[in-house]
Structure formats: structure tokens, C-alpha cells
Symmetry: C2
Subunit: 430 residues, 2 copies
Amino acid sequence: MKTLKINRDTIQNLLSDLLKRSPNSYKEYEDAVADIIKNVQNEGDKAVFEYAYKFDQAQINKNNIKVSDMEIKEAYNQIDSTLLEVIQKAKKNIREFHEKQRQYSWFDSKPDGSILGQKVTPIKTAGVYVPGGKAVYPSSVLMNVMPAKVAGVKKIVMTTPCNKEGKINPNTLVAAKEAGVDEIYKTGGAQAIAALAYGTESIPKVDKIVGPGNIYVALAKKAVYGNVGIDSIAGPSEILVLADETANPRYVAADLLSQAEHDELASAILVTTSEILAEQVKKEIGIFLKQLSRKTILEKSIENYGYILIAENLDEAIQVTNEIASEHLEIVTKDPFQVMTKIENAGAIFLGEYSSEPLGDYFAGPNHVLPTNGTAKFFSPLSVDDFIKKSSIISFSKESLEPIHEDIIKFAEAEQLTAHANSIKVRFEK
Amino acid sequence: MKTLKINRDTIQNLLSDLLKRSPNSYKEYEDAVADIIKNVQNEGDKAVFEYAYKFDQAQINKNNIKVSDMEIKEAYNQIDSTLLEVIQKAKKNIREFHEKQRQYSWFDSKPDGSILGQKVTPIKTAGVYVPGGKAVYPSSVLMNVMPAKVAGVKKIVMTTPCNKEGKINPNTLVAAKEAGVDEIYKTGGAQAIAALAYGTESIPKVDKIVGPGNIYVALAKKAVYGNVGIDSIAGPSEILVLADETANPRYVAADLLSQAEHDELASAILVTTSEILAEQVKKEIGIFLKQLSRKTILEKSIENYGYILIAENLDEAIQVTNEIASEHLEIVTKDPFQVMTKIENAGAIFLGEYSSEPLGDYFAGPNHVLPTNGTAKFFSPLSVDDFIKKSSIISFSKESLEPIHEDIIKFAEAEQLTAHANSIKVRFEK
């Protein structure tokens, strides 16, 4: 973990180091991804089955690609009943928070007969990608599916790779069923994204694809963007703790490590005005590293993307925090709400010493799918907004069009769009 | 203009014909675009200047790339004063409509000390691309800039190519100034998008890029997506008129042509339950074609992407309308508001015989940057939403964390994320 005083060069170097982890920095995989997509477009199921065998040694065919009711039932028999209860409680909190994000159609009418507005409609079908492999995250299933459910999406299709035996982890299946997924297909990687984007004999085409994945999945999502909607281009996880001398170094250290354990590209940054705190946090990290099970990953991510940045004062600390635009931001200062008012860029903001980041990952209710890698400057957390779209509503009467019709004709003619002008003219021709 | 009875095959063929016009169907330009982007990333201004000379024969350097106050003043001297007034009126309507799209930060607190919410922050800097060449669309400048302005974007940077003499059309410059653009740079094409995405010595990096452009611009926007935000992948313009026997065939014909005149790839579709109306509209189109100035474009787009679809009944007509998901939809039926309730996918919906599409292009207030090519199934009109982003707010007290802390630990441990569990544990250790 590097300790650095903040200055222009430090921050520029740090930002460009972090940016190397972005999916856009892995252009060398683009051709392989484009090939997979093209094959699925051309060959449909056949390509999907072949890739399942090639990448996961799974024997998938049109009879077993869709998860059956029996498999779901089996998953319920296998899941730890306490975990099931926890999943149900978390789901309730997630639903409650996302229900507050609902947006409504509105209109504005004037007595001249004109009506303007926006109609809000849910997206009809959504595809949720869930990674397979060793890491099994039922929390991620809830977080990706619940906003779609609350938005009113009619059909939610999930894809996830199965293992060699054709099995999917029961916790994933139960979380999907609890969240209200309609159909689950055993397929992963770029081929799953292509199948959801274009449809195959077995897998239905959807309107929008969400969910995290490896570099192949991220680049495949980008490639199909425009043919379908996507949530965002996700990079590795990040935490930034903005702390002053009032922070508890043990809590800060634990929270930095909570994100660092995700993978070797994860980043954990402490920005502090207190050199004493910096020292204490470093010591606590050393202690935790000896105790925690994911030691190898932790050591690597802390070494590569762990930073302690010493700020001259709180203003400088806040400025750097805004520049980094971290996925998760914890504010552990004397008056965290005051500091929050100055935060411009962050995926999720955790205030005060009991608002530990994992609270947000699992339970509080806000979404844990958050903008990474500086994209909080322009992206938002996954939300109900991602599963609705709007249509403008325009209704004018003759009475309301008449007084402005010459202005419209003038504007259209200035742009040399004479057929536009003609549309207005014909309505007032004698 | 092909007249077809609606059936599965008709619609599938039509949809795949229309989809050929999508920027995603022009992958052969991707390498050229990638080269331009890489050169701008590596060489900065130098590459931008070279491309300006290569593509536009314009001699741009660091002294003249930025539009000066003098050039703006000159543009005001050159613009038709009636057009300036119309621009100002249109701007007022656009502002008024977009102000109703404002979203607000909110929170929800419980007496146990927990606070959850969403903080809404404007994007800090936005880049607006404005095409050059013969087509000059000041309306497009207003439509792209005003939502950013209303959202509270601090810095709005515009780029547009100049002509050989280094000039930009005065109407474009005046519209930019009226809308509140902060800086204008003379550069176009993929190189302008790259400059906005990564910054050069002269052109500042922005957080999000919006605005229409040719295929190079569209593919460049897609390529930089993820490093910056973009509005959408825009394709050629479209109109669909959904009409029954009550519609005025002359108005319908005029409105179909108003979009068809944009370019040869533009699409104009009439979906109707009335074969009589279909015939009448065809006749009126023939008459207008003889009168209108953009005849060559009109004839080609009507021939290639003009359709009259005959529906058995209104339900079938509505279903097809939803499948096509047109950029502009006019509903000219006996009871247009009733039909509107059944519309799921459309960029903008115009109701009744006086709501002619060009009214929305120029004047009513809603944005004319709309999802094209079926993307209304998942994209929305350009709006204030595009220039804000949200951060989740999570603040828990010890009292509110305590009753759920074991659930969080359980969930984290089930996902084998032991450092996540540790973060919660340390807060309750004895």
C-alpha cells in the first residue's frame, strides 16, 4: 500500500493506473468477442452449445438449456434455511428502496388546447447475466433483478454458465426465483450476451441486458449496445474512504479490505487529513491480512491498487475524492453530512462509522451495482430508471398551432427542410 | 412506396430492412474510426489539425481552433433577425419543457437512525457534437444544449467542423450562444469525438458526449463509451403514422414526407386500417413529390424505406406500431388518446391531426433527439436525465446496524467474502 502526499502528478498517475483496469483497455479481446457474437448470430443454439462445451466442458442441448421447475425445487432443498431467510429479508429492503425510484407519466396542458408530457413505460423484456465459476453471488442476482421487477418489466430472462455436470449453484437459483426471474438459461460468457441480444432457437431476444461479468462479457455487452440497451461497462470494484482524525482506524482498515478481497484488480484508497490515522490504518491492515482467508488476493490488490493519500486539508481531500469518483465512498469525518454536500462523483456514499460498505452490498436496500473506474462522473447506480423508458407526448389543436405556425415554417425553411415547412403549411392552406 | 398487408413475414422483413441502417451494421468502418481515435489519443492537437486538413481542407491550428467572441459577434450580424427571434422563442419553449424533467435528491429516514436516499448531481462537463457540411441545423444545437443547461452542467463544449475558410455557419453559432454553450471548437468527425473523450492541448476532456453525426461520429461515440458517457447510438430519422379512415390524407402525406426528406436512409411508414386512406395518401405523396425541393432524396427514401401497411383492425395496427418502435409516431385516429394508452414503444407520440411532426422538431418544447431504429424499446428522448447522475446515500447508526448485523455476516460468508463479514464483525467485537 503506497502512502503518498497529494499533488497533481500523484493524482494523474493514480488515475491513469486505475484506468488501465477498464474494459476499454482490453481491446485485444475485441476480435475474439466479435467472432463469438457473429457465430451466435449466424448459428444460434448450435454455437451456444459448442461454446458451452469448449469453455465450460458442459454438455448443453435444447432439452436441458432451460432450468426446469424440478431443478429450482432441488435448489430450495439444498439451500441453508437461514440463508434463505436472509435473502428474503434483503429482497424486502431492496424492493422498498427501489419502489421509491418509480417515475410517473406526466402532462402539462394549456387552455389553448395544447398538451405536452412524458409517458413512462417499462422495458418489455430484460436479460440478466450472472457470472458462474467459483464466485457465487446471490446478492448480485437480487440487485440486478429487483429494479426490473419494480419497474414492471414483463419478462426477465437470466443466463448463467453451469458446471461440467450441468448444474448451477443452488443459492443462485433460489435468489433468482425469489427475485422473480421468469426463465433461466445455462449459458455464460460472450455467447450468452449474443444470445440475449439477437435471440436463438432456445433463448429469447431481450430489449436490455444487465449484469456483471468478466472481460469477455463486458466487451460483448459493449459490442451489442445499440441493438439492445445495456446497464453500463463495469470494471473491478473500488472503495475510497475519506477520513479525518476522528475515524476508527480498525473500521477503516476492515472496510478497505472488504473491497480489496473481490479480485486482484480491486482498488482500496484511503484519503485522509491525518498522518496518524494513515499509520494506524496501515498497522490494522497488516493485522487483518494475517487473519483473513482471501489473503493472496488481498495482498495483490492492496499492493497494486491500494493507496493512502495524505491531504493538506479537508478541501483538498474532497477535491481528490471527486476526481477519483469511486464506486463506493465512505465518509468518516467529524461531520460527514457536511462533507457529503461537496461530493460530486461517487456511486454510493456511506456516511459515518457504522455505515460500513458491506451493509450496502447486501442489505440496506440501495443497489450494489454501481459505476466503477471514474464512471460515477456520468453513470448512476443500477435502478428502476434502467428498466423504464420515456416517450414524449405532443398534442396540439388548430387553435394552439395557429399562432406559432409561421415561426415553425420560418425555422424549417432556414434549415432548408421544405417538406417540414410544407407539413405546417398544408394545415393552414385556404 | 410499397403497400403491404400485415403478416408475420412482412413485418420481419421490414424490421430487418430497417435495421440495416443501424450504425452497428457498418462494422467495416470500425477500424478506420479506431485509428483516428488512437491517433488523437497519442498525438492530441497535431492529429486533430491534420484530420481537419485531410477531411475538410481546413487549416486549423491552436490559435484559431476555438471560436472567438469576434466570430460570435459577426454571426449575430449575419443572422436573419426574424430567425433569431424564432430561435429565442423556441429556446424558451424547450427550456420550459425540460425544466419539468428536473429530478431531486431525496432521502428516507427511520427513527432508528438510518437514512437512505439518492443524491442527484449534474454532470460537470458535457460535449455537444454538431455536424457540419451543407445541412445546418440550429434547432439541433438548441435541442442538445438546453437539457444540459437545465440540468446544471457547469461547462458545455461544442465541436463542429468548419469549412475550407475556417468558417462555421452563423445560424449554428448564434444558436450555440443563445443556448449557453461555453466553448466552441472547430473540429468534426471521429477526431472531434476522440478529442472530447480524451482531451487534447486545445480541447478539454468532457464527461459525456451527445449529438448526432455521420457513421464515423456514431461509431466513435460507441468506441469511447465507458471512458465517457454518450447519449445513444443514433440512426437515420423515421416517422410512423398510425391512421384510420378519419385521417386527412393530405396531412398524412405531408408528414410522411417531412421525415423522408432528411436523407436517403430515412424511413416513412403509414400503418392504417383503411385501404381507401392508403390510396389517397399515395396519391397526395405523388402530388407533393412534384412540388417539393428535396425531390431526389424524397424519392429515394420513399422507394427504399417507405411503406404503407394495411392492418385488419386497430389492434393489429397498434401491435405492429409497437414492434417497429418508431422515432416519431403520429396517431391520427378517431380517439388518439385511447390509442396512445396502448403504445409501448415510440420516441415521441404526436396526437391528432394538428400535431404535425415538425411542430416537435422545432417548437413545442420536447426534445427532437429521439431513439431511432427500434431503440425506443429501451432508449428515451434526450432529456435532463442524460445530464444528471445519482449517488446512493447510506447512513446507519450503531442502533440501526445492530439488529441486522448478523444477517449481513451470514450473507457475506455464504458468498465466501470473509473480509466483507469482517467489516461488520469488528464493529460489534467486545
